[in-house]
């Protein structure tokens, strides 16, 4: 007690100052880590940039054999973007539908449903991958992929590959499921900001519930919904394990998919698959680190955009009347 109450002046070192310094240092830790991380990624991947320059990003080779080393990141960039875009195309509508349902349902139904959807987020990626590999793949291949291929394989290029279950399509579907909790909960928050009077105005005109959504809720929360979707895209881009287990693990030119049923590879999956085997001498490891750098760049751009859109929506909408 005595120590706590003594005057500031007679202390040689001020515990308050020390505490504040400690807290500040802890706060700055993240800044240091970011700088160090980016620095490390750049310097350790430097050999591949030195070798190929920026054409590493558009190259499609992937050869680790001694003396014939040649690496290009394009197939994996394509794989990441295609699977993520597909995941968005499937997952976002589902998420918005779920958000619509929960926002409108009575609390007794909405709360447990919201809880279940959130539980989807607690399941680790590796278990999604395991389930996808042992359960979903068989089912999906036989009930969806094979029929599509047999019926439309000749006419539509999307379905022309031979379905094997481990391909872009399967991986994208699992990704779509994985982004549902994020997108739907942000969508729900965003839709909650629509003022009650707006909805009443629509009902007053005789609108049905769906018409009220079209007339009031969607226009009002458009920015936030787009932000939620891009947030989902950001999640999908950074996903590793589930995708690695389901995407078929092709490399180089073969990894650029010609149809939905072709195997492919994403930036994170190629790293997961090959990092431990790659020898630090030579270009293989720098190439993988270069891929990581590109992945980081893309993920960051997407996430910053998403956050800007969502926070703008959640902070600014104070109501339309400027009386």
């Amino acid at each position: 007690m005595k120590k706590v109450f003594s005057k500031k002046n007679d202390r040689k070192f001020d515990p308050d100052k020390i505490f504040k310094m400690g807290a500040t240092l802890a706060g700055c830790f993240v800044l240091v880590v970011i700088v160090l991380l980016v620095f490390q990624l750049i310097t350790q991947s430097y050999p591949i940039w030195e070798e190929n320059g920026l054409s590493f990003i558009i190259g499609t080779d992937w050869n680790a054999a001694d003396g014939r080393e040649s690496f290009g990141a394009l197939p994996y960039i394509v794989g990441t973007l295609v699977t993520s875009a597909l995941a968005m195309a499937i997952g976002v509508p589902l998420s918005i539908g779920i958000a619509m349902f929960i926002s409108d349902a009575p609390k007794k139904i909405g709360a447990p449903l919201g809880f279940l959807v959130e539980l989807l987020a607690a399941v680790p990626s590796i278990i999604y991958g395991l389930w996808g590999l042992y359960v979903f793949r068989e089912f999906f291949m036989n009930s969806v992929e094979k029929p599509l291929h047999n019926t439309f394989g000749d006419s539509i290029w999307l379905f022309s590959g031979t379905p094997f279950g481990l391909d872009i399509f399967t991986a994208s579907i699992i990704l779509a499921i994985m982004i549902i909790p994020t997108v739907s909960s942000v969508a729900r928050e965003v839709m909650k900001t629509v003022p009650q009077q707006q909805k009443e105005a629509a009902y007053m005109l005789g609108a049905t519930k769906w018409e009220m959504f079209k007339l009031v809720i969607f226009p009002y929360s458009k920015t936030g919904l787009i932000g939620a979707s891009i947030l989902g895209l950001g999640r999908a881009v950074g996903e590793t394990m589930a995708v690695t287990m389901l995407i078929g693990n092709a490399t180089g030119l073969n990894a650029i998919p010609g149809s939905l049923f072709d195997p492919s590879q994403t930036m994170s999956s190629i790293i997961a698959n090959e990092f431990v085997e790659a020898s630090p001498a030579g270009l293989h490891l720098p190439a993988l680190i270069g891929v990581a750098l590109v992945l980081l760049g893309i993920a960051m751009v997407i996430n910053v955009i998403a956050h800007l859109l969502v926070t703008r929506m959640l902070k600014v909408k104070e109501g339309a009347v400027n009386t």
Binding site: E200, M204, G206, Y220, K222, A320, T323
Partner: protein, 268 residues
């Protein structure tokens, strides 16, 4: 549930008179708590009826049941009948959408659709009903904006976003929006309470003109407004309709003690 209170009224003794809207034994409860008890009111065509009373007396609650707005409220239960042209709005066969078209509503705070222009706000209800003809839309926009005394102020810039208008203008826009769906009854919930005196005056002028065509029911806490604007007035207190008479008579010679106290300003 029946209320102990009997409404003091000398209106509409002769039942052969034609009424646009009739509220019969209307009781509205939130959960177990009754907010409006056994209200009986009749509204004549082309008239203005004001509902007055202290805060919490149930006047807004009652008003909102007239176009089934309580469907949206989770706990609300409405008993009794609300009839427009003889058809009960609350009967099982009627979907409220049919009849919400007949009853327009203007809310306390102006609430134009913020993402739409003036023109689109007015035509919102029309578009829902499948009216696409540009000529007709333009006609109705001009017609309703004129009725709402807003046309001259906005006619040159109908594409302007509705939120750029002043509060009073926005409220008149909301009136035009409600009028555009060609209702027969117009409900107004303290339409001028969020506005300055000049805007209020404009709204009152609008109401006086509109009653030549529409049946208007207006909730107001401003007694002078009720006197200026309405033909009939109903005074509510704690969920009961205490007195329902010609406006002049109710204010100059209230028959019920409570009414007298209220109009004399003895309680808020």
């Amino acid at each position: 549930m029946t209320s102990e209170t009997q409404t003091t009224s000398d209106l509409f003794e002769n039942d052969s008179e034609k009424f646009k809207m009739i509220a019969e034994d209307v009781t509205i409860s939130y959960g177990d708590v009754p907010a409006v008890k056994n209200v009986n009111m009749k509204f004549k065509e082309k008239s203005v009826t004001a509902l007055i009373g202290p805060s919490g007396c149930g006047k807004t609650t009652f008003l909102r049941c007239l176009n089934r707005m309580h469907d949206m409220t989770k706990n609300a239960k409405v008993e009794g009948k609300v009839m427009i042209d003889g058809i009960d709005l609350y009967s099982k066969e009627i979907d409220p959408i049919y009849h919400r078209r007949k009853v327009g509503m203007v809310f306390q705070k102006p609430n134009p659709f913020p993402t739409m222009s003036i023109f689109d706000n007015v035509t919102a209800g029309l578009r829902l009903n499948g009216v696409k003809d540009k000529r007709i839309l333009n006609e109705i926009v001009e017609d309703t904006l004129k009725m709402a005394y807003l046309w001259d102020e906005v006619k040159n810039d109908l594409k302007k976003p509705a939120v750029e208008l002043s509060g009073g203008q926005q409220q008149r826009l909301c009136i035009a929006r409600a009028l555009a769906i060609q209702p027969e009854v117009l409900l107004m919930d303290e339409p001028a309470s969020a506005l300055d005196p000049i805007a209020t005056q404009k709204i009152e002028e609008t109401i006086t003109e509109l009653k030549k065509e529409f049946t208007i029911i207006i909730v107001t806490h401003n007694m002078q407004q009720a006197v200026r604007v309405s033909d009939y007035t109903g005074f509510m207190y704690l969920g009961d309709l205490i007195e329902f008479r010609h406006t002049k008579k109710l204010f100059t010679d209230p028959k019920n003690d409570l009414t007298a106290k209220y109009v004399q300003g003895q309680f808020g």
